[in-house]
């Protein structure tokens, strides 16, 4: 007979298996820094493990984990701002490199180039977004989450999420118009 502790450990292990990649992806898109995304992902699951007993299933495990990840990256940027001498030291990849990752599909070379340029413009727009706008934008358009899910993960109301999303999209549109 497995004890309650063992069952909890197995449950947590399956949560890690099923959500780790998504959390990592969100943190990678937020920071554009592989090392940092990996470190924050580890911290996220460490924190989740410590608080696993207090998780009551009021929201989905994914929403709960995403909330931890959002807070961790928020804390990271806040600390970074305070430690002003670290501002220059960043491992973020540049926007061109981040835009390289497009599946070739059945596109022509010209189409691929155009798509790459457009993706680079989206990155440029994301870079200029506020922390909240960026988080909401990435959760909606990279993680394809519903507005209600985003609201729960960020602790914002759905109306505020919509407003942030609308501003973020306006910025993306403006950036794309500037490209044309």
């Amino acid at each position: 007979m497995a004890t309650a502790k063992e069952i909890a450990a197995q449950e947590f292990s399956s949560i890690v298996q099923s959500h780790r990649q998504q959390i990592f992806r969100f943190l990678l898109a937020s920071t554009r820094d592989l090392d940092l995304a990996e470190t924050l992902t580890q911290e996220c699951f460490l924190k989740a493990h410590r608080n696993w007993a207090s998780f009551r299933g009021e929201s989905s495990a994914m929403t709960w984990l995403m909330r931890i990840a959002i807070n961790l990256q928020k804390d990271h940027w806040r600390n970074r701002r305070m430690q002003f001498w670290r501002r220059t030291q960043t491992n973020s990849v540049d926007l061109d490199e981040a835009s390289e990752w497009l599946s070739s599909g059945e596109r022509s070379a010209e189409q691929k180039l155009l798509a790459k340029e457009q993706v680079a413009h989206v990155w440029e727009a994301v870079k200029g977004l506020s922390e909240r706008q960026r988080t909401v934008f990435l959760l909606r358009y990279v993680e394809e989450q519903e507005l209600s899910q985003i609201a729960r993960a960020t602790g914002l109301s759905e109306g505020t999420v919509k407003a942030h999303l609308s501003r973020a999209l306006a910025r993306v549109r403006a950036e794309l118009r500037g490209q044309q």
Binding site: Q21, F24, R25, L28, A29, L34, D35, A37, E38, T39, Q42, A98, S99, E100, W101, L102, S103, A115, Q118, V119, H121, V122, W123, Y141, V142, E144, L169, V172, R173, L176
Partner: protein, 146 residues
């Protein structure tokens, strides 16, 4: 006439709507490409062998090295400053000693010169006085003989 204007308005509206739809479709396509590129990038990074512990170790090591280097530089600048001060003091002490020695030598030299001058004067005087007194001594000797 009126019907034509109405037709024109409707055509304009339809054209505008079509254009908006095209723009929205384009935006959706761009956002879909963006999503795919992030997913591909993340998948590629995720499937690579984990080097995070090492990277984190590197970070700790870099931070420690940074601190150590900072401490060495600080200690170096402090000890350099102290050495420089000590060196300046030592140089000033040597210079003062050298000047004192020079002054002592100069004083000795002056004293020797004065002594030599006095000795010369003395010897000149002691030689001249007898020769100057010589005729007087002869006269005194003659008087005594008489």
């Amino acid at each position: 006439m009126n019907g034509k204007a109405e037709y024109g308005d409707k055509a304009g509206q339809v054209h505008q709507e079509t254009e908006l739809k095209t723009q929205e479709a384009e935006l959706e396509q761009v956002l879909s490409n963006f999503r795919m590129s992030v997913h591909a990038w993340s998948e590629s990074a995720y499937s690579q062998p984990r080097t995070v512990a090492k990277a984190a170790g590197h970070r700790v090591w870099r931070r420690a090295a940074g601190w150590a280097l900072g401490c060495v530089l600080l200690a170096g600048s402090i000890s350099g400053g102290m050495y420089e001060r000590h060196h300046q003091r030592e140089m000033a002490r040597i210079e003062a000693a050298r000047q004192a020695e020079q002054q002592r030598i100069a004083a000795e030299q002056r004293a020797r010169e004065e002594e030599e001058l006095l000795a010369k004067v003395d010897s000149d005087v002691s030689r001249q006085v007898p020769s100057a007194m010589e005729p007087l001594a002869i006269l005194m000797a003659e008087d005594e003989a008489r």
